[in-house]
Symmetry: C2
Subunit: 330 residues, 2 copies
Amino acid sequence: MNNQPLFAFPRLRDFIHRAFVKLGMPNHDAATVAHLMASADLQGSDGHGIIRLPPYSRRILNKGMNLTPNIRAIEERAATALLDGDNGMGHLVMSKAAEIAAAKAKNCGIAWVGSRYSNHAGPASLYARMALEHNMIGLYFAVGNANHLPPWGGLDMLLSTNPIAVAGKVKAKAQRNEMMPEGWMIDRQGKPLLDPKKADEGFLLPIGGYKGYGLSLIVGLLAGTLNGAAMGKAVIDFNHDEKSTTNTGQAIAMIDPAAFGDIDQFKQRVDTLVGEIRGSEKMPGVDRIWLPGEQSEAKRAKYTEQGIPLPEKLVQTLADLATQLNIEPL
Amino acid sequence: MNNQPLFAFPRLRDFIHRAFVKLGMPNHDAATVAHLMASADLQGSDGHGIIRLPPYSRRILNKGMNLTPNIRAIEERAATALLDGDNGMGHLVMSKAAEIAAAKAKNCGIAWVGSRYSNHAGPASLYARMALEHNMIGLYFAVGNANHLPPWGGLDMLLSTNPIAVAGKVKAKAQRNEMMPEGWMIDRQGKPLLDPKKADEGFLLPIGGYKGYGLSLIVGLLAGTLNGAAMGKAVIDFNHDEKSTTNTGQAIAMIDPAAFGDIDQFKQRVDTLVGEIRGSEKMPGVDRIWLPGEQSEAKRAKYTEQGIPLPEKLVQTLADLATQLNIEPL
């Protein structure tokens, strides 16, 4: 990490913006997507940021995504909406979903906005955090864009890891020539699979065993099946198919704490709880107890200050993309 | 199990009913609680059924629960409500919460009803299932009535296992003189704790490691902190304190699938997904792939037919309770 070149947030954002405009995306939409993708890198969600620009570009060039979608509510109640994303970029669909959810939650106390015919939108936290601008609690659910999990006891990969399972660390183990611990993967006989280079012969395990399978299924039902989006066998593995419409399903819920009493008192109660957790006696060797989201917050501060590190190989891939699109490089 | 005496559902229900009436609970409320508690046993949730009658009775005799609560909405919006349970039985609070949630979700598409000053309500699925009567999806969240989990890296038990973590199986291992597998518990040095008889010296681990810690915290925030109910240090361990007001927090959400399109089409999509999961190629040694809730459903059918098995020791405890309360025995 220490030897990786560093790039200021605006540099990443503006490069992404240029690429999408050159690919034919309207300027305002390109700005929205570029801001969100660079924000992913800024918070350390580096698997969901600028690294996705080359595959997104290929999908656009393959006519696999709609550059001028008509994103609209096709079902609506006081506290709910179902958006048809018209195969536009997920970032645009979920930005609109968050906006609608905030307005509805302000009126009704809670709102839930689902999507169909959306696409990959990057890290969940970008959208859950949009609730904070409205003094609200945000929850985000998505059907993953590739199935890695079989049902408990099964061998067919029908479930995505969704946002609640171990994932993405297997490749890193393989690159470092390390074995995986038990509990990450099993082979087709149900025995522990420890060699990450044999990952294709096995399956990721859900967190918490059968409980994780249940959670993954529930998230898929709420974000996919309810919305008429792809789930189970209908899910397109977007790593291996850059053309077919993914019909990605997502959902964002917002809860207005003011609907449950004084909001300042609620924030004080949260602060008290955070203080109790931070102040817990620590296990030997632990120097700090983290709250969810704190590490991302710390990265945002650090990377804003010093710049965002990108691996050399990715920088080269982005340079190639710039040449291909004939745009100013990063 | 095979040698345990069997009791028909109405026999359990009516015994519980008699006990609560004798303890001073209004007849209609006693009937509601008795039905729900016996329903827990009927679906195999035997840790949440009639086994709780003796501790509930002790709490009532200790004036630790309010027999004639004024359960009322103290905050309300179109799609939300916050109930003050007035320290009544959780079964009554959550039954009312479910009723309100169903009516609001019918109008708004989704509803969320939280509680404060509630008490233990039995298994989550009883309340989530109430949504089915209204053709809705139900979600239930609760702050557990005892803290077993430290935050990740910590040693203070500030989090309950909530409904998403391994729990309750440690005692069974101890009774059978078996060791626990790695991953269930750790000691105060963070090392695996395998002897269930030393459970008091260690901590339960959340499912999925730090992700489980995050989930437990989020559920506690939504079901407890948001509602002004106990969370963190404020949680009363109801196994060791049968007098103090627990200020238990719960929440039930209902989603009306009809707000997202044709409900029959939704049910067909669920059936398709269920078919895909059931039809998955099976791991060697697995003869059936289960969907969440199917095992409870199977138990409901079996126990309705043959009766509900109760351990001899519990039957004796209930006989003692009948003598103590001077009511007709089970």
